[in-house]
């Protein structure tokens, strides 16, 4: 029994069941398949996180985001006063997370590829792009750069999905994707 010592004094000498050998083999093969899927997707798949990130001071990052917003602002989002920024096609798009807002609103072109920069001003935030359901962690003092290619036009919501303080649930943002 499992609650009494094994029959053989040395457990290593206990016989092995045939069913177990079969199952361990099957499970091992499956584990290998799963392992190889990850490097395989880096070659064959299109959804892989970038390895590009830099250390950055929150103030320095804020300055970059504001400069970009000033240069490429096209309008304001409703009555919120938040600028809608249309970064150059194929260029750098900046987004920052802070308690409790994603800033600014971005307007991207369908099919174009952007270098999307993300960082946080204060604590960790979660970038959750809906309804795509792309979820990325955003840290203070790290600027992550991600090449993204929007494939469908429309308006997208950004939620914060890392708890970041009492206003966590009002931390939202927006991305527009236009056809032309």
């Amino acid at each position: 029994m499992a609650i009494t010592p094994p029959e053989q004094r040395v457990w290593w000498n206990e016989p092995v069941e045939k069913t177990e050998v079969l199952w361990v083999t099957i499970a091992l093969v499956w584990a290998l398949v799963m392992f190889f899927m990850m490097p395989y997707w880096h070659f064959a798949g299109e959804q892989n996180l970038s390895n590009e990130a830099y250390r950055v001071k929150p103030d320095a990052y804020l300055a970059k985001v504001e400069a970009s917003a000033e240069k490429h602002k096209v309008r304001e989002e409703g009555t919120t006063g938040i600028p809608v920024v249309r970064p150059p096609v194929g260029g750098d798009a900046y987004l920052l997370g802070r308690q409790f807002q994603w800033w600014p609103v971005l307007e991207l072109k369908k099919g174009a590829t952007y270098r999307l920069h993300m960082s946080s001003m204060d604590v960790q935030h979660g970038f959750s792009l809906l309804p795509e359901n792309i979820n990325i962690q955003v840290h203070p003092e790290y600027e992550m750069i991600l090449k993204v290619t929007p494939t469908r036009s429309g308006s997208y919501g950004i939620l914060c999905n890392e708890y970041c303080g009492t206003g966590h649930h009002i931390m939202t943002g927006k991305i527009y994707v236009t056809d032309n």
Binding site: M1, T80, N135, I170
Partner: protein
């Protein structure tokens, strides 16, 4: 000099000092299960869109308490019970240093209390993960550290008792498999607690204003070395419970000692690397690092769990077949004692841990697939099916046997107890399923208001995700009822349960005759093998469905 009694039911020699410690740790664990469970019910009632019970501040407070009391306090107090039981009692030995055992108990109790006070004071709602630079009060971290030191002392007593038992020859040959499983849990606990010290002590100093800055990414890398491994203590401990229950109820012996022990051993070797799978969408870590670590160095820890998934039901099947339940593939399963909460709890724990917790864990632990799940409701869906209907249910099943046996009293409400594992186990399983569903639709975890009513820029989550969160509330109510029956039974049995008369005790299950475990032709446990293949097919299909889902989102690199 240690004093002993002989358990009339099992024939085990029971060290009275160990028994007392077991009782106190067990009672305390159940108290924290009650507190943490109540917090959990409040969380579920707040996330139920039509009910939306608590205000935001109180909700985040209660959610922090729920995570801490269930993931840490309840399970680790119960694991202390298992460590004392599987060392002193199963080995017929004396518990080494029982006085130190009280230090373990005291430190853990004081630590848990301090942290709970910090949470209830309201300025430490930083969630179980307490990611810096979000800051809690210093005594929040201090309580966790004291609790961990207590647990470390418990592990030390366990190891010392193993060594002493061996030296004093209280048992023959190798230690029992259940004790081996507990030993694996204790080994993992030691390096988990060491990792926790490396990160929590500086965090305490930072919170107290002594250290100016902690890097948020570094914190997370080290924190998960504790955070995830601590859950692997649970896995080892609850699998030990599965084997223990199979032995107690059916006199089952493992299909083979070698395979089961090697599967436990895989946890020690490979799981510390696994902590990195919490960092799959972080900046600043390379894909190579993520792939190597998420693979658990070749998914070896997953392999361990898949092996136990076969060998535990396999040992039950083998034992039942020996008793003559040989008809067809599944007579052994149909004729199992489904009305006994010890068995039904264990069976539901095995199935939901494997099918729901295991498969979802591998999916969110895959480098790219994590993108579509990270920090959505899918994540709590995963751990409710591993820690809830997996670990907690297995511990409850064990307690339904252990508490009446240790206290020598009849179970308080056996009629109700019959239903409890179904209510709790299936309730929590559905909590997990609905949470995974809502997460797949984009609902964020830890979020107070999914209508986003007060947000500057609104967004409408799909109606189906609201439905899922409502169903989550209903399932949580069922689970709470099952949990309440468990607690009622434990408290009732201890306080006012009818004393057992020694004469009425049934004889211990006879050990199976040696060498009849079916080394004949073909598969010796065909029913279990068929179930395992069904599991594998589910796993493969679900895994690739998620890759297909991933392939439909925006290309990014």
């Amino acid at each position: 000099m240690a004093e002993f009694r002989t358990c009339p039911e099992t024939g085990l020699k029971v060290d009275l000092a160990a028994e007392k410690l077991i009782k106190w740790n067990a009672v305390t664990s159940v108290v924290f299960l009650l507190v943490g469970g109540l917090f959990g019910l409040l969380v579920a009632l707040t996330r139920w869109p039509e009910v939306h019970l608590l205000g935001a501040d109180l909700y985040y407070l209660v959610l922090t308490g729920h995570g801490l009391d269930i993931l840490l306090v309840w399970v680790i107090f119960f694991e202390m019970v298992l460590l004392y039981f599987t060392s002193a009692i199963l080995l017929n030995a004396r518990l080494v240093a029982p006085t130190l055992g009280w230090v373990q108990y005291g430190l853990m109790l004081v630590g848990a209390a301090i942290t709970n006070v910090a949470v209830l004071q309201g300025d430490s709602s930083v969630m179980f993960t307490s990611y810096v630079p979000l800051k809690a009060a210093p005594h929040f971290y201090l309580g966790i550290i004291l609790f961990a030191v207590g647990a470390l002392i418990g592990c030390g007593i366990f190891f010392a008792t193993l060594v002493t038992a061996k030296k004093e020859k209280t048992f023959e040959g190798s230690m029992p498999l259940v004790t081996f499983g507990a030993m694996v849990a204790a080994i993992i606990a030691v390096f988990t607690i060491a990792t926790g010290a490396v990160i929590l002590i500086p965090t305490l100093l930072w919170s107290a204003g002594i250290i100016p800055h902690i890097d948020s990414l570094l914190y997370k890398v080290v924190w998960w070395g504790m955070g995830h491994s601590s859950q692997q203590i649970n896995v080892s401990a609850h699998i030990a419970c599965w084997y223990g229950i199979a032995a107690i109820l059916f006199g089952a012996k493992p299909l083979s000692e070698k395979v089961s022990r090697m599967a436990f051993f895989l946890y020690i070797l490979f799981l510390q690397l696994a902590s990195a799978h919490h960092l799959l969408v972080e900046p600043g870590l390379s894909s190579e690092y993520k792939i190597f670590n998420t693979s658990y160095a070749l998914y070896m820890a997953v392999l361990g769990s898949m092996i136990h998934g076969l060998t535990v039901p396999g040992s039950v099947e083998a034992a039942m077949r020996k008793k003559g339940y040989n008809k067809g593939l599944f007579e052994w399963l149909r004729k199992a004692p489904w009305g006994n909460p010890v068995f039904s709890g264990m069976a539901i724990s095995v199935v939901t841990f494997g099918f729901l917790g295991g498969i979802s864990g591998v999916v969110i632990g895959t480098e790219q697939l994590n993108l579509i799940m990270h920090n959505t409701m899918y994540v709590p869906g995963h751990f409710h099916t591993t820690v809830g209907s997996g670990t907690t249910l297995a511990f409850m099943a064990m307690a339904y046997w252990a508490v009446p046996t240790l206290w020598q009293r009849e179970l308080f409400a056996p009629g109700l107890a019959k239903w409890a594992p179904y209510l709790f186990g299936l309730g929590v399983s559905f909590v997990g399923v609905f949470q995974m569903g809502a997460g797949t639709l984009g609902a964020p975890r830890r979020h107070w208001d999914m209508t986003l009513a007060d947000a500057t820029i609104g967004y409408d989550l799909p109606a189906a995700s609201f439905l899922m969160m409502g169903m989550n509330g209903v399932a949580a109510l069922a689970a709470s009822l099952g949990g309440a029956i468990f607690i009622l039974n434990m408290v009732g049995t201890i306080l006012i349960g009818k004393r057992k008369t020694a004469a009425a005790a049934p004889a211990p299950a006879a050990p199976a005759p040696a060498g009849v475990s079916g080394h004949g032709e073909g598969v010796s446990v065909p029913g279990t093998f068929v179930l395992a293949i069904i599991f594998l097919i589910t796993f493969v299909l679900y895994y690739f469905v998620n890759w297909k889902y991933l392939a439909s989102v925006w290309p990014l690199s």
